[in-house]
Amino acid sequence: MMIPLLRPALLGLTRLLVGARASWEGCAPADVPRIYFANHSSHLDTLVMMAALPRELRARTHPVAALDYWGGSALRRSVAVGCLNALLVDRTGKATAEVMDAMAAVLDGGQSLILFPEGTRGDGAVQPFKSGLYHLARRVPGAELVPVFIENLNRVMPKGMPLPVPLICTMRFGAPVAPPGDGEDKAAFLERARDALVSLSHSSQSQPRTPSQETAR
């Protein structure tokens, strides 16, 4: 089909719009089963993550996407599955076991997943995590849990703005988070994982100051 051309075109456009630079700060790119969990900042999250990954990892990494949206039409499905290797999952809660099986199968096969555990997106701040990350980490304890902070993308397409403004987005890959410990409950683990993601947002000197910080200076 058109897929062989569509993929480089989509990734090229993404780079022209937001640069999509990867900054490996806490780990190196490696072909081991990983759960990359990132902040959800815009509709472009998945595309930008895929554009930032090295080519050989991109082919073995699957963003988890909502079936109700991405499976909605043949075009969307071919973009999501054909171009972006997406794993489409039912997020209505009716098929939780099947979703977990499908995600675990990818990791067991030696490949990686991209998750956005916030579920919804806020205006800049990282929201509390949904529990899927916890259950998946318990199910596949061998997978590395790598936090990825996507910087600036919420400024590219703020909520409710249909048109993008080109700004350079950097993906900050942090050090893997330890899987849930024996005595650790779900809430504690999710909070720890969220903290690891949030701490990446302060790790750079090139982080632009927000106007209010600037006034306070």
Binding site: G19, R21, N152, R155, P158, M161, L163, P164, V165, P166, L167, I168, Q205, S206, P208, R209, T210, P211, S212, E214, T215
Partner: protein
């Protein structure tokens, strides 16, 4: 300007000189990489070799665009303006209310500015951004009803457009100058500006690394030295004087023009360095390996292009 093809002996000589210069630089870089012993030296040489590799790409792109004609050259500069504006605004805090204006800056202002140059409408391209866009952008932002840092946000967006789009666009505008008695392709004037401005940067770096002792202003640009500035600047003026053969200028006029380009270029780099320090970054971006961002490479051209354009237009057309 004439429609004569660029591919003629003069251009081939210049291309040959660029090729020779790049080859010599590459060889020197390879020798230095063998000889260097200290860790700090390793970093410097690695950065030097990255810079030289990037120069090959930049020179090849620029030469290809010029050979393909005015329209392609214009598109290349429009793309550079887009990338430079993206670097500038990435580091500049903006708010939700700025979004529509910023969208228009990238996708309407950039193409319109270069289109006006392409159709030769001097009267409008020279006031489009400083007059019309100057008022239109804050008018759009004010509709967002957000007064937090309104003046700062507006001023920074205006500066981004003036530097990355308005000033930079004067470089390819040289192709559309109609200079009586000047029979060479207009692209050679652009080549002249770029060569003098960029060689000034290169030789300031070389002189500074080899003989630089007196820091010019450590707080703004730690690598700039008095020795580098004088040695590099004078070398660039000498080359600019010798290159008078590709311009409508006499050797003396060419020396004066080169001095203007070098001086403006120096202040361009200096002013943009001060902005980077204010924003808390070392480079504008990471697109050009060894150099930083597009704006790091264009900072001298951004200041010298409008001056060179207007001086040439006033006295020679």
């Amino acid at each position: 300007m004439t429609a004569e093809p660029l591919l003629q002996p003069l251009f081939l000589w210049l291309a040959g000189a660029a090729l020779a210069l790049l080859t010599v630089a590459t060889l020197i870089g390879a020798v230095l990489a063998q000889r260097v012993t200290t860790p700090a030296g390793h970093d410097t040489v690695r950065n030097l070799n990255a810079r030289i590799r990037s120069w090959w790409v930049m020179v090849a792109l620029f030469a290809a665009a010029m050979l393909l004609g005015g329209t392609v050259t214009l598109v290349l500069f429009a793309l550079l303006s887009y990338l430079a504006l993206r670097e500038f605004l990435t580091l500049t805090p903006t708010r939700r209310g700025d979004h529509p204006g910023l969208f228009l800056s990238f996708f309407v202002v950039v193409p319109v500015q270069y289109w006006l140059i392409g159709i030769g409408w001097y009267g409008l391209f020279s006031i489009f951004i400083p007059v019309y866009v100057f008022m239109a952008l804050p008018s759009l932002s004010v509709l967002g009803a957000d007064t937090t840092d309104f003046l700062t946000r507006t001023a920074k967006a205006q500066w981004g457009l003036m530097l990355a789009v308005y000033c930079a666009s004067h470089a390819p505008a040289l192709l559309w100058l109609d200079i009586p008695g000047y029979e060479l392709p207009g692209a050679l004037l652009l080549l002249y500006l770029m060569t003098v401005a960029q060689l000034s940067d290169v030789f300031q770096y070389v002189f500074g690394k080899l003989w630089g002792k007196t820091r010019l202003s450590p707080g703004i640009s730690p690598s700039k030295t008095v020795e580098g500035l004088l040695g590099g600047g004078l070398t660039a003026v000498a080359i600019g004087t010798g290159l008078h053969v590709i311009t409508p200028f006499t050797p003396l006029q060419a020396a004066g023009m080169s001095l203007v380009i070098v001086t403006a270029g120096f202040f361009g780099g200096f002013v943009l360095s001060a902005m980077k320090r204010d924003l808390g970054v070392k480079d504008w971006g990471t697109l050009i390996e060894g150099h930083g961002g597009v704006l790091d490479r264009l900072d001298s051209v951004v200041f010298s292009a409008p001056l060179f354009f207007h001086l040439t237009r006033y006295w020679f057309t």
